[in-house]
């Protein structure tokens, strides 16, 4: 009996369909429902890694992996998890995935692992992961939960990388420092694309040390929220 039920469910709705609704799950978190600027979740472990672009990219990939797969697994188990202990079960799922990410990163790229230090572990308490599990995966089918997780991870990563680009470009004059595709844009030596020592046009330019401080990440996100809300009136806080 149970088997026929499962078959019926799968024939009614194919396991992996990708229509308009599914696309919305992926694109909605990028703007209208962005985890950082609208839902205000997951800021904790994010901002500290954004002083350079490369660690931000690595962090984003790690978060996308964790949000996607924790949503998938929670959704698969959603009918077996007792309501009272669901927090602990979710935390165990997330913690195991984060351990996998941590060990993989330690093996693949040790310098970046050192740079991210405790913030990889802090993906566990990243509210965006828990938030999506509670709000979406506990009530939806695996495939759609997976897409929702990936979508939210992408929305999070987009902000992270945007902040990283601004901070590194204006703070250090380079992009992707520490990675194979390092680009030196503007600076006082001949190595840089625009050499401020010899250039007549950019001779006045100096790197902005404020951008390297943690506070700069706050200002940049504040300004991003400002820009987004001036274009998207329905997000404006009325209270």
């Amino acid at each position: 009996m149970a088997e026929t039920n499962v078959k019926e469910a799968t024939t009614k709705e194919p396991l992996f369909q990708f229509g308009k609704k599914e696309r919305k799950l992926l694109t909605d978190p990028l703007n209208d429902n962005n985890p950082i600027t609208v839902q205000v979740l997951g800021i904790c472990s994010a901002l500290a890694v954004t002083s350079l672009v490369y660690p931000s990219v690595v962090m984003s990939i790690a978060v996308i992996f964790v949000t996607g797969f924790s949503s998938l697994f929670t959704s698969l188990l959603r009918n077996y998890i007792p309501k009272q202990v669901r927090m602990i079960v979710q935390l165990v799922i997330i913690a195991s995935l984060v351990t996998v990410v941590e060990l993989t990163l330690k093996y693949l790229n040790y310098p970046v692992y050192k740079q991210l230090s405790v913030y990889i572990g802090l993906i566990i308490t990243n509210c965006i992961v828990m938030g999506r599990l509670e709000a979406f995966s506990m009530a939806n089918k695996p495939w759609r939960s997976f897409l929702d997780g990936i979508g939210n991870g992408l929305g999070y990563g987009a902000i992270l990388i945007a902040v990283g680009v601004v901070r590194e470009l204006f703070g250090k004059g380079s992009l992707f420092a520490g990675s194979p595709i390092e680009m030196k844009i503007i600076g006082p030596t001949a190595e840089y694309f625009i050499n401020t020592e010899t250039s007549t046009l950019f001779g006045w330019y100096e790197n902005n040390n404020l951008m390297v401080l943690p506070a700069a990440a706050m200002f940049i996100i504040g300004i991003m929220i400002w820009i987004q809300r001036s274009y998207n009136q329905k997000l404006v806080d009325i209270s």
Partner: protein, 202 residues
């Protein structure tokens, strides 16, 4: 004793968990609309951070490290164990407080469960491991970190209460302004870098 104060001052002011490491940012922004609620959450954080830090230190030292009971390196279990300790400690603290001090329970009430997913708690424990603190240092770090978090959330709540009467651009109201204010507070706290912790005895 000097070392204890040294770490306390450093954790509370110079390396403030919110303003220098962005830990506990979610609840910091969500619960800082009024000073009263901010006060409750701040107290709860000091409480839980002060308790979980020594417990996690004992777990790290006696269960997970190579010199511990099992004699092998079990550090890959660190995340799962730490978060389990934090979740169960929060639950336990909630029950004890409810039993013995209903007044405090009413004040902390809804904030206690929130603390499980407060990054400052897990972050504090992970910092403790990576900085190789000993037992008394980890107690000092827990209390100091909690106190710093408490100070930061009280300050931002007071500012947000006042700024409601100011003429902020509509798109910047609420969240946007809270971010910019936090940034400014971060810069203000940075000036405390000038404090020499050694002045408190060492």
């Amino acid at each position: 004793m000097g070392e204890f104060f040294n770490i306390f001052i450093k954790a509370a002011f110079i390396e403030n968990l919110v303003l220098a490491y962005f830990l506990g940012m979610c609840s910091y922004l969500a619960v800082s609309k009024t000073v009263k609620t901010a006060f409750g959450l701040g107290l709860a954080v000091i409480f839980v951070l002060g308790i979980t830090m020594p417990i996690n230190w004992l777990i790290q030292e006696y269960l997970l490290s190579e010199t511990g009971v099992f004699g092998t390196d079990l550090t890959f279990l660190r995340f799962i164990l730490f978060i389990a300790v934090i979740a169960s400690m929060v639950q336990l603290v909630e029950m004890v407080v409810e039993k013995f001090s209903p007044a405090l329970y009413n004040a902390l009430g809804i904030f206690l469960p929130l603390i499980t997913v407060n990054c400052a708690i897990l972050g504090g424990s992970l910092f403790m491991v990576s900085r190789e603190y000993n037992f008394s240092e980890s107690v000092a770090f827990g209390l100091g970190g909690g106190f710093g978090w408490f100070l930061a959330i009280i300050a931002i709540a007071a500012i947000r209460e006042k700024i409601r009467y100011s003429n902020v651009p509509p798109a910047l109201r609420g969240l946007g302004m809270a971010f910019i204010l936090t940034g400014l507070m971060g810069i203000a706290f940075m000036s405390l870098l000038g404090i020499d912790p050694a002045a408190f005895g060492n």
